[in-house]
């Protein structure tokens, strides 16, 4: 197995995620406890989601990254010989990847993430953002419609190039609505409005991006142990560029499709392992290249399944 790790992004969360790992695995539990101390959040309670905490950007971001890192530590302990060729995280998941690849240390990473989540929540609350998934439609057509639907004060643009079959657009609600209307006028019916709290990866997050730039100014990035492919550039992160890229990340579209292509073509992966809640990224990978073997780990049972498969 030549493996690419995929790290879940926001939107993949669900109630009680990772709690079976928390109960059964000491290194996982330790990770959650350390992250709780570093962020000043009670992640155990947040995972239970009894008061809908996971619907809030400010809580869900540290919760997902912590889960992904807890699982990564378990894998490092149980399968130290694993042939990991590269890593990609979707948006938020890029922090999981950079921490997993020792570019960003866990303590600083968690603190930065807490602030990132706060900046983003603030922009999400201040703007009238909306997003919609467009399926099976040419990128040129999508980009054209976005241009037509935007004007000086309201914008809509591609925000996530997820797979050959799915692009998500986002922007001011009025502009997104205009774009949806234009799609319908062109007989493109495969457009689904998404339930999101903001138009992530669009210019609507300008304020968060500028705050992020300041926040990252004194954060140290090391060389990654394996290539981590950036959503923003679709190239490996280089430590001297990471601050700038992570600042731009907030207002730039994600190129998950190209990132996976990079791992297939340049790092020769034949297997992906999605680490963190859900299996959205595995599904995108399947749409990108059916031949890639796929695993996802978000509970004890699929963790064991992967351990057994990797030992042949």
């Amino acid at each position: 197995m030549k493996i690419g790790f995929l790290f879940s992004g926001q939107g993949a969360q669900y109630s009680n995620m990772g709690l079976d790992l928390y109960e059964s695995d000491s290194i996982y539990r330790e990770t959650v406890e350390q992250a709780s101390a570093l962020t000043g959040m009670d992640l155990g309670t947040i995972y239970r989601n009894e008061n809908n905490e996971l619907a809030q950007t400010v809580y869900v971001q540290p919760a997902i990254v912590t889960m992904s890192l807890g699982i990564t530590r378990m894998l490092k302990r149980d399968l130290p010989q694993l042939d990991v060729r590269g890593m990609v995280g979707l948006s938020l998941g890029e922090y999981s990847a950079l921490i997993a690849a020792d570019s960003l240390d866990f303590e600083n990473g968690m603190r930065v993430l807490k602030d990132r989540a706060m900046y983003m929540q603030s922009d999400a609350e201040k703007t009238d953002g909306a997003m919609a998934a467009v399926m099976k439609t040419d990128i040129d057509v999508i980009e054209n419609i976005c241009k037509k639907a935007s004007n000086g004060s309201e914008v809509v643009c591609p925000a996530n190039y997820n797979s050959p079959k799915q692009v998500v657009i986002g922007g001011n609600k009025a502009a997104v609505d205009r774009a949806i209307k234009l799609f319908h006028e062109q007989e493109i019916k495969n457009v689904i409005p998404l339930k999101v709290s903001g138009a992530f990866h669009t210019p609507l997050f300008k304020k968060a991006s500028s705050l992020m730039g300041k926040r990252l100014a004194n954060v140290q990035f090391e060389k990654t142990t394996v290539p981590v492919i950036s959503n923003t550039t679709a190239q490996p992160f280089a430590p001297e560029k990471s601050r700038e890229i992570l600042t731009r990340q907030l207002t730039s579209p994600t190129h998950f499709h190209q990132c996976v292509d990079y791992m297939i073509n340049n790092l020769e992966i034949d297997t992906v392992v999605e680490i963190g809640p859900g299996q959205t990224l595995s599904k995108f990978t399947k749409q990108i290249d059916k031949k890639i073997e796929r695993y996802h780990i978000d509970n004890q049972s699929n963790y064991q399944k992967f351990i057994e498969a990797s030992r042949g």
């Binding site: 399926m135 959205t280 595995s282 599904k283 399947k286």
Partner: protein
């Protein structure tokens, strides 16, 4: 088409779209709860069925279980 034939089609598409084992897809499986589909998945499944069977379906037709999908598809196929 018989209900059984439609079930076969739905099952193939669901297995492909959701990456689940074929024996997990039963008439009474809840698509979102048991098969862990999100609304985009439901949309894609409907889309595939439309293409394969040359019918028109709405993704938000209130389908919950596989049985709901099969019955909805059967209704549209019969009305063709």
């Amino acid at each position: 088409m018989t209900e059984q034939e439609i079930f076969g089609k739905v099952k193939d598409i669901v297995v492909e779209q959701l990456d689940v084992d074929a024996d997990k897809v039963k008439m009474d499986s809840d698509i979102k709860e048991d098969l862990e589909a999100d609304s985009l998945d439901v949309f894609e499944i409907m889309n595939e069925l439309e293409d394969e069977l040359d019918i028109k379906l709405e993704a938000d037709e209130g389908v919950k279980t596989i049985k709901d999908v099969v019955e909805y598809v059967k209704k549209e196929v019969d009305a063709k």
